[in-house]
Amino acid sequence: MKWLHNNRSAVLLAPALLFLLLVLYSLTMSFVESIRGVDGWTFDYYQGLFQERRLYASFGYSLTITLISTLLSIAIGWGIVRSFHTFIENSPGKWLVWIPMLFPHFVWGYFVLLLLGQSGLISSALFGLGWIEERDQFPVFVQDRNGIGIITTYLWKEIPFVILMLLPVYAQLPKQYGEVIQVLGGSKRHIFKTIEWPWVKPVLLEVALILTAFIFTAYEVPALLGVQYPQMTAELAYDWFYGVSWDERSYAFALLFIAAAVMGFIALISFMILNRQRWLISKSQHSR
């Protein structure tokens, strides 16, 4: 009977495993392509890649934008959920949070351009009010070297994502334990440490990993709101992938494979540590 049951879940999991195989296959293939030379296998392209000046400029630029966008989205989104969660759930407020989720990232990027560009609505309104005389006097917020337009778009899109990921967690927090802690004379810090943090931590980790991987390697927003130099990772990889020379094509595969390997490794390690902690907690609860 047990065998039958296990077999049933194997059948149910088969399509998902097939999907996982597809993803692993695709990553393996991008590695294979990165070491396929004109005559035989070679790691030369990795050497060549690390001598490219464009790579270093892109890496620093991408990492800065990614970290700022991810950390700020999480900090602001988490802050909003912590202060307002009691009435966002089951209210029209939740539908308001869904609105930016409906639009693709590049549409939101277009909106930021329409609003904040030098020829945008705010600039035009300031001219109408007589505060500026030329559109050049309006500060460069989009298509700027510092990536302000890119960061603005990501924050505007990801804060709702963070809110919607955290809301279910706060709806399920075991609030009665908070009362127990209060009765026993525990402080707010205790409540946070024993109830809120253990529940929120895994979701925060997941959100942080998703946002980091996505922002670091997304193409659409930086290609629209960025500058020619430096470029973010995906723009560089895209240029190289469609570049004329074979070397550049191999650089594209190598660059994206390294990004995938590093991010996948970080994600696996963090989840393994987290799962182990959870396992220890559940074990100590059972032995009591």
């Binding site: 049951h5 149910l12 999991l13 991008s30 202060s83 609505l121 995906a234 991010m263 799962n275």
Partner: protein, 265 residues
């Protein structure tokens, strides 16, 4: 006090952009430094009917998004049920692995699949685009469906099986009706993500699969903000439209005298 602070922030940052885009789609081009003109026009919207290419792209995008959604729902429901209602060795590891595609660049998967797709004849064809759109969507659906089955529990399913209902009938009368909220969120998310793909579609579609993003993206810098705003609104309407279609299909699946409709719950 707190409530009004939240609502004023949410209206300013979340609702206002949508309203502004909607307003822009029915007003003429606003030029810099000139007063805003409100001579209503339907030019932005009629461009969808006037141009065959755009209309075709609209249907193709919807076809791709709905195919991706149906595959997502099938894979997600099966995996969600197995992950929620049975336990086996290495389950938490498998759950982590199934989320992994979200933590690696989708573009790496796309260029990795490119050559294989060319060999199989799937590149430059909409089915190849469907396959690559599965990469950033399926992990979310599995997650949503697992949470759905967690909430549902196994009691009702066991009871129905005990009363000699077959697996298909149990699915139609118990699981599907009670999982509808999860199905709705999954459809919303999957269609939105599929509609957001420019670079994945461009790589695998190779310029022959013309979806809405492929048309829209190169024109984002254009001065014709009326047409661009109408486009922007369409991107947001399509997921809502897709939820309605899926709702109709599942209504068809759920029999009239299911547990749900008898007024028992």
């Amino acid at each position: 006090m707190k409530r009004s602070l939240f609502y004023s922030l949410a209206i300013l940052f979340f609702l206002f952009p949508a309203i502004l885009l909607g307003l822009k789609s029915v007003t003429p081009i606003w030029r810099w430094g000139e007063p805003l003109s409100f001579n209503w026009t339907l030019r932005g919207w009629t461009s969808f009917w006037m141009d065959d290419r755009i209309l075709h792209a609209l249907w193709l995008s919807l076809l791709i998004a709905l195919t991706v959604t149906l595959i997502n729902l099938a894979v997600g429901m099966m995996a969600g049920k197995a992950l929620s209602h049975s336990s086996f060795k290495g389950k938490s590891m498998l759950e982590t692995l199934l989320l992994l595609p979200l933590f690696v660049p989708a573009m790496a998967a796309a260029i990795g699949l490119h050559i294989t797709m060319i060999r199989l004849g799937l590149a430059n064809h909409w089915t190849g685009v469907v396959i690559v759109h599965l990469v950033p969507t399926i992990p979310y659906t599995i997650k949503i469906m697992k949470a759905g089955y967690d909430r549902l529990g196994s009691d009702l399913i066991d009871q129905s099986r005990m009363l000699k209902a077959g697996p298909f009938r149990t699915f139609r009368e118990i699981e599907l009706p009670l999982l509808l909220p999860s199905v709705r969120s999954a459809v919303f998310l999957v269609v939105t993500i599929s509609m957001s793909q420019y670079v994945l579609t461009a790589i695998i579609g190779g310029g022959s699969v013309i979806t809405l993003p492929i048309i829209y993206y190169p024109f984002l810098q254009s001065v014709d903000d009326t047409v661009m705003a109408a486009f922007s609104i369409v991107f947001a309407i399509l997921p809502v439209f897709a939820v309605l279609i899926i709702e109709l299909i599942s209504r068809f699946f759920i029999t009239k005298n299911s547990f749900f409709n008898r007024g028992a719950v």
